[in-house]
């Protein structure tokens, strides 16, 4: 049993749930308390100790029955038992008319035999079950296995068998009964296949190394990511955001032990007759203010989702963040983010500003910004531009950009393109470059993380 639980935990990890060693130890202690007789309690004990995020509960609930169900195939009914010798003869006669393979299958169904482990393994091998490690493939694989069993042909054969039996003069009521039972048996067989597929996948999940290759993923360029990678990256970004948060907190705490604030100390100690009992330090507020302008045009689409997720996380962490997105004009997107789940918020922005034939125009967007939102920018603000600087030969409006750069505390440009591409085509990057304090190439998530860390240092 312990072995099974350990396997279950590694399957959870494989499924993307973060389970620490301490938590698995807790799980065992919890089971000691509650015992394993009561399946429901056992499930709750595991869930309360292993899953700490409401979003991970569905993964848990899906995996749990695969590991801790009775493991027996659903019962199939034996039809041959309650047939009269007459009827059995008829069936045998009818069966003779089918090919061997189909006959075997039909006999199995009639006798209510489930598939043996060997047969299941064989089927699994045929459809590539051994390599599957994603529960979403379960239904599909079960269907593939049914196909490999020639289920459709068997169904067709059953229909013919029924007709044959009817012709042979079997009682109609009896025939209906038989048909129903056979159908139930088919269902049970399918269920067995489903179970087998689920169990195999779960076992594969357990064997998969958790977080396999996340480092590799971190260092892969954004435009070389598959959908599956994106899902994992999104998770990773969320985790990074939480890390960032505690890092910010640490910095803000350290800043508290600053200079002595004489004025505040005197004021605070008036109640003690000006005896300086309470010492007040100058609170060096390092609360960063951010203005982010994010390019989501066609040339940036491959990474705009991740970039927007990053913007979302920044806004989540730093309350004074104003986020904008632009293609040919600027849109204020902070309200889109407020109070919505990350994926949804990002998808919402991308849907609101679909990429199309219109051209990227940073110059015009900057002009719009300085017209409507200039008051949000002051000397404490870090101004971040996310984009590739490809301006479609529009006016880059360097005048506005330099005003903004001067007005802000720091100007940081995040560019997913490599520097050698900056001078090519319609890129205005080299014109903007002298006006920025820092330009960071963020082609991979690892670089992105390092970049974000630098915003927060603010020195």
């Amino acid at each position: 049993m312990e072995d099974r639980i350990v396997k279950f935990i590694s399957a959870l990890r494989g499924g993307g749930v973060r389970v620490s060693l301490a938590e698995s130890a807790d799980a065992f202690r919890a089971i000691q308390e509650l015992g394993i007789q009561d399946r429901e309690r056992f499930r709750l004990a595991l869930r309360a100790t292993l899953v700490k995020d409401a979003g991970d509960i569905p993964t848990f609930e899906e995996l749990f029955p695969l590991f801790f169900s009775s493991g027996e195939a659903p019962p199939l009914l034996n039809l041959a038992q309650d047939l009269s010798p007459d009827e059995a003869g008829m069936i045998a006669e009818a069966l003779r008319q089918f090919s061997r393979k189909l006959r075997e299958m039909l006999e199995k169904l009639l006798r209510g035999e489930s598939l043996s482990q060997q047969e299941l393994d064989q089927l699994g091998q045929m459809v590539g079950l051994n390599r599957a490690d994603d529960l979403r493939q379960r239904e599909w694989l079960a269907r593939r296995m049914a196909q490999a069993l020639r289920f459709r042909e068997v169904q067709e054969a059953l229909r013919q068998l029924m007709e044959l039996l009817a012709q042979m003069g079997m009682n109609k009521q009896r025939l209906d009964q038989l048909r129903q039972l056979l159908q139930a048996n088919q269902q049970a067989l399918l269920e067995q296949l489903r179970q087998h597929a689920g169990q195999r996948i779960a076992e594969n999940l357990a064997q998969r190394r958790p977080d396999q290759g996340i480092d590799d993923l971190l260092n892969r360029p954004f435009n070389a990511l598959s959908d599956q990678d994106m899902e994992r990256l999104r998770k990773e970004i969320r985790r990074l955001a939480a890390l960032l948060r505690s890092r910010i907190a640490l910095r803000q705490k350290r800043a508290k032990t600053g200079q002595l604030d004489a004025k505040a100390t005197i004021r605070a100690n008036l109640k003690h007759g000006s005896v300086p009992i309470e010492i007040v330090h100058r609170d060096r507020t390092l609360k960063p203010k951010l203005i982010v302008i994010c390019d989501i045009s066609t040339s940036m689409r491959y990474c705009s989702e991740l970039m927007l997720s990053l913007v979302y996380c920044l806004q989540d962490q730093i309350s004074k963040t104003h986020a904008f997105a632009f293609i040919d004009h600027l849109e204020y997107i902070s309200p889109d983010f407020a109070g919505r789940a990350p994926n949804e918020a990002v998808a919402g922005v991308l849907a609101r500003m679909p990429s199309g034939h219109y051209n990227t125009d940073l110059g015009f967007s900057l002009e719009q910004f300085s017209r409507s939102f200039l008051d949000t920018m002051d000397s404490r603000t870090t101004f971040i531009v996310v984009g590739d600087g490809r301006n479609n030969y529009n006016d880059p409006r360097l005048d506005i950009f330099s005003t903004l750069a001067r007005r802000s505390h720091r100007t940081i440009w995040l560019n997913p393109e490599a520097p050698m591409l900056w001078a090519t085509g319609d890129s205005d990057m080299l014109k903007y470059a002298p006006l920025c304090h820092t330009i960071l190439q963020v082609g991979t998530l690892a670089e992105l993380t390092a970049a974000v860390d630098r915003f927060l240092i603010q020195r």
Partner: protein, 330 residues
């Protein structure tokens, strides 16, 4: 009052029931685990599903005192743990001036006087002048307590890190006094509305309980318990309507307490059935946003005829939309 522990989850469930808290097996089992393992319990879920109420009920059921720490942005150690009472210290020095002079009399030189004063220092940094905030109170309490840390997600991450230390060892160090260790391990219940992700480290130290909206039957039982005056048929209709509202995409879904308020309103108004007029006059008890109200009224008038025949929609845990909505609502 003597405190109780429970030997099985079922007994815990019954005891919670005596406190007028209807717990399902899930809540009772995990609460029981928390008691047995001595681990804090982190409860999450939509607003108004009775997370705070659970802590109160468990305090009542175990006969322990409830100590509540309400978190908010900017909460720090001085508000959560302890603070020296400067004013009181000062007052005492003033009042004890004669005594001090007596102590210092005869001292030759400043250094000798300072030494003598230092010998008396302990008087001023003793428990007498320590203002105990909830965390320290829970640690120092002679009787076992229930410590409720409410809405932990509102506190800063910095405070969360500080809390880790307290929750893992149940001891705090006060520089002037040394390390204070808990006499009894309090039962700790943390609640969160998930406005932000809590740190992994904190989650790791807690047991996790996700409380979702109750099923129709559970909620009906609550209504029957708390508002027994409401006619059973009407109560069922009301609860089913609330469940329909929760299945809709509203800015704020009605919580359990709002269901109860509504049930009371129906009793007060002597409502016999949920007709158009009753709904219009009382819906504002359930829905607190104008846009929600308008939407629901539109929806209800459209489907009014089959209001009774419709099967209730139950919020399911495995429904992705529910999670999305839950996150959005918070």
């Amino acid at each position: 009052m003597s405190t109780r522990t429970f030997s099985t989850p079922a007994k815990l469930k019954d005891a919670l029931g005596e406190q007028q808290y209807i717990a399902n097996d899930e809540i009772a089992t995990i609460m029981y685990l928390s008691q047995q393992l001595g681990k804090p319990l982190l409860t999450e879920g939509p607003a108004g599903v009775g997370k705070t109420e659970l802590a109160k009920a468990i305090a009542g059921a175990t006969g322990r005192e409830l100590i509540r720490l309400q978190c908010y942005e900017g909460l720090d150690e001085t508000k959560a743990l302890y603070e020296w009472e400067y004013a009181k210290q000062l007052l005492y020095t003033q009042l004890l001036r004669d005594k001090l002079q007596e102590t210092l009399a005869g001292a030759t030189g400043l250094a000798a006087a300072a030494d003598r004063l230092a010998a008396e220092e302990d008087v001023f940094f003793s428990m007498r002048f320590l203002l105990q905030r909830p965390l320290l109170k829970a640690i120092l309490s002679k009787e076992p307590t229930v410590l409720l840390i409410d809405e932990i997600d509102r506190a800063d991450a910095e405070f969360e890190a500080f809390l880790l230390e307290v929750l893992s060892d149940f001891q705090v160090s006060v520089p002037e006094l040394g390390t204070l260790t808990a006499v009894h391990r309090p039962l700790v219940v943390l609640t969160s509305n998930n406005t932000r992700e809590l740190s992994e480290a904190l989650k790791r130290r807690c047991l996790y309980l996700f409380i979702d909206y109750p099923t129709v039957d559970q909620e009906l039982a609550m209504v029957r318990l708390k508002v027994p005056e409401l006619a059973p048929r009407l109560a069922r209709q009301a609860v089913e309507l609330v469940h329909r509202l929760r299945a809709m995409d509203l800015r704020k879904s009605p919580s359990i307490s709002e269901t109860l308020d509504w049930a009371k309103a129906l009793v007060t108004l002597n409502a016999r059935q949920l007709d158009q007029q009753t709904l219009e006059t009382t819906l504002s008890v359930l829905l607190k946003h104008e846009s929600d109200l308008q939407r629901v009224e539109g929806e209800l008038t459209r489907t009014e005829p089959d209001i009774e025949s419709r099967p209730p929609r139950r919020p399911r845990l495995d429904d992705d939309d529910d999670f999305a909505r839950y996150r959005r609502n918070n």
